[in-house]
């Protein structure tokens, strides 16, 4: 039982963490919580199945195309749902615009793909058995790769430093001559690819299903809130803890009550640490 909790808990937790990183990456350069994050995860599964199973492409090519499509959706999100509302951030219009785009993505997928869950290809031909099955460790591996990649990007590259500068203070970054708008588009492309990778790596577990979007939106947001907004390390820890807690609750109390247990934990943590476990309280000029 413990092995099963660990295997599936870490796997879904890693998917949640990746969606949390997607939220954070988009937020860092725009101050917008884009509710397309979960839909990007859903699209990762659907496109992975489309390229890998329906079109029969080899999995590396299918992965590449899926990530490219995710990046494209990220860019479209920036142009369609984020850029027009940036001037009135304080009115939180982005909630409406990103939710509307998310719903459109979901409905288009339902109409053009299927309303029933569709199979996702076995990527490595069924590597590993039982709790070591590839469907359990692939999301964890993908999450580790993304975290390592982002650390490298942010710490070792000029573009990464520019991202951080915009995230820290976009007015100052612009004053320094950084192309803030282009950097924002790039960060949305990056977030799109990360979101699509979440769905692709978890495809064997979650299947290619149009209704995964809201589910991932919801459970992907919890690690962000738990770990602290904009904090990727917090999102990873929050996601993995959430996955393990959810799976343990499934064993202990079952379906409906497991969700209640998850949200009880969520509320208790936020009451104790409103800025998230790893978040820091920010001063705001009033």
């Amino acid at each position: 039982m413990l092995a099963s909790i660990l295997a599936s808990g870490l796997a879904v937790g890693a998917v949640y963490a990746l969606i949390g990183i997607t939220y954070n990456t988009m937020f860092s350069t725009s101050r917008v919580m884009s509710f397309t994050a979960g839909q990007l995860g859903m699209l990762g599964g659907v496109l992975g199945s489309l390229f890998g199973l329906r079109l029969g492409l080899p999995w590396p090519l299918a992965l590449l195309l899926t990530l490219a499509a995710g990046a494209l959706v990220g860019v479209v999100t920036e142009f369609v749902a984020v850029r027009p509302v940036l001037r009135s951030l304080d009115q939180h219009l982005y909630v409406l615009s990103t939710l509307a785009l998310a719903l459109m993505l979901q409905q288009v997928t339902a109409i053009t793909w299927s309303t029933e869950p569709q199979p996702f290809p076995r990527l490595l031909g069924g590597f590993g058995e039982d709790v070591l099955d590839e469907k359990f460790w692939l999301p964890v591996a993908a999450c580790a790769l993304v975290v390592a990649g982002l650390e490298l990007l942010y710490r070792r590259t000029l573009v990464g430093h520019a991202f951080l500068a915009v995230a820290e203070d976009n007015f100052a970054a612009r004053a320094l001559g950084l192309p803030e708008r282009r950097l924002r588009v790039m960060s949305f492309a990056l977030a799109g690819a990360v979101g699509a990778l979440a769905g692709y790596s978890g495809g064997e577990l979650l299947l290619a299903f149009f209704a995964n979007g809201p589910h991932l939106n919801f459970y992907g947001f919890i690690p962000v809130a738990l770990g602290g907004l904009g904090n990727n390390r917090g999102a990873v820890i929050g996601g993995l803890v959430l996955g393990l807690f959810q799976q343990a609750a499934n064993f202990a109390v079952g379906g409906i009550f497991a969700s209640v247990a998850v949200f009880t934990m969520f509320i208790v943590v936020l009451l104790a640490a409103p800025q998230g476990l790893l978040g820091s309280a920010t001063a705001r000029r009033v």
């Binding site: 299927s114 029933e116 299947l207 499934n250 064993f251 409906i256 969700s259």
Partner: protein
């Protein structure tokens, strides 16, 4: 100058009286007009798969009847309105069918959510309505004297599943699992209560979020509780497939019995091995089940032969096509046998039907009972035996 004398007046009057006695040539509108049947069809949207199947039967029935000269010389016209599975659109379409299209009767909607919204509207207009929706409360001859059900109700499904578990599989301890939708929760509760009423033990009862990726916790609890069969109430094929895969990984040889979705063709692509789908029994119908020799009942066999080359069965279910065919036939038969097209005449005719031999089943309606499908014809099918829309009868039936 025109003059009128007494003779011409008398002659004219006599002529008029004679013409009246013989009957003026009335406008040929009513006679030549087609008989319109309303069809509330969710042709697009998430719940369109059954409707597409029903529609094939509807079109086939109308074409067959019209090719044979129609009903009392009048052609049948199916007035289809795509509701997209949306109750609001179904309400608008119903009002339009009643007040604008002036249909004789309405077939559909095909899902209970829409039907709950439109049944009272049709009752107010006394519109004869026949539908295949399973929710029990949709049929109430006092509140909705015009509404008739062509398919089994939820209770009839429940009876069939329970009967198979207790009488054929001869198990006494069951696990009842539903998804977390309103339907899943209600159906699982009703099923568990009925098992207990019949003296069986419900060793485990639970509701699972259909997107839950791993079903091990629930099946482990069911196994530890000593369940000898698992009863599943969910329309989620993803959840069904995960249950089968988990059962196989646990090496648990327990039968799974329940909702028709357990036999959905989509599951074939979602199971890890074909054998994972063995020992799964889904609700089916005797008329649309084949025996060990692969033979359907003679009436169904004949129907399938007639459909050949005209209607595709490989991507739908035979019962959907058969029920659509029967629904149109029932309206046509009412007009044919009574010679009337009024609401009252059609409802009265249906109320008097006793074992009307349809393709899907033998329907019996009375003024007090509008659930016309025979419970004994609701059977279990081997879920993985789908072939051209029909399934093999589950083992244990005589």
């Amino acid at each position: 100058m025109v003059t009128t004398n007494r003779r011409s007046l008398v002659l004219g009057g006599a002529g008029l009286a004679g013409a009246a006695a013989l009957g003026f040539p009335r406008p040929a509108l009513a006679q030549g007009e087609p008989l319109r049947i309303g069809w509330l069809a969710a042709m697009t949207g998430p719940s369109s798969a059954p409707t597409v199947g029903f529609n094939r039967g509807v079109v086939f029935a109308a074409e067959t009847i019209n090719a044979a000269g129609g009903v009392k010389g009048r052609k049948l016209e199916i007035v289809t309105r795509d509701t997209q599975g949306d109750p609001t659109k179904a309400v608008n379409a119903t009002q339009e069918l009643i007040s604008q299209a002036k249909v004789l009767a309405v077939w559909g909607p095909t899902n209970s959510g829409e039907s709950l919204a439109v049944t009272p509207i049709m009752a107010r207009a006394r519109m004869p309505n026949i539908h295949p929706c399973v929710v029990d409360s949709l049929i109430d001859p006092v509140k909705f004297p015009n509404a008739f059900r062509i398919a089994p109700s939820n209770t009839q499904w429940d009876d069939a599943v329970r009967g198979y578990c207790l009488k054929v599989l001869k198990v006494r301890r069951v696990a009842v699992i539903g998804d977390t939708t309103g339907y899943g929760v209600t159906a699982a509760n009703a099923s568990a209560a009925a098992f207990k009423r019949d003296g069986a033990e419900v060793a485990y009862q639970g509701n699972i979020d259909s997107t839950q990726p791993d079903m091990t916790p629930d099946l482990l609890r069911a196994r530890n509780a000593g369940a000898q069969a698992i009863v599943v109430w969910s329309v989620s094929t993803g959840m069904d497939a995960r249950l089968f895969n988990t059962r196989a990984r646990m090496g648990w040889d327990v039968p799974i019995v329940g909702h028709p979705s357990l036999a959905s063709g989509e599951i074939g692509g979602l199971i890890e091995k074909p054998a994972n789908w063995d020992k799964v029994y889904a609700i089916g119908y005797r008329s649309c089940s084949y025996d060990e020799a692969g033979k359907l009942a003679p009436r169904s066999q004949d129907f399938v032969a007639r459909l050949k080359g005209r209607v595709t069965l490989s991507d739908t279910l035979l019962w959907w096509v058969a029920a659509g065919y029967d629904a149109v036939s029932l309206v046509a038969k009412a007009v044919e046998d009574t010679g009337a097209t009024t609401n009252e005449a059609i409802v009265k005719y249906w109320n008097g039907l006793s074992r009307y031999p349809g393709i899907f089943g033998d329907y019996t309606y009375t003024p007090q009972e509008h659930n016309g499908y025979p419970t004994d014809d609701v059977v279990m099918s081997a879920a993985n035996s789908g072939r051209d829309g029909s399934f093999r009868l589950a083992p244990g039936y005589g």
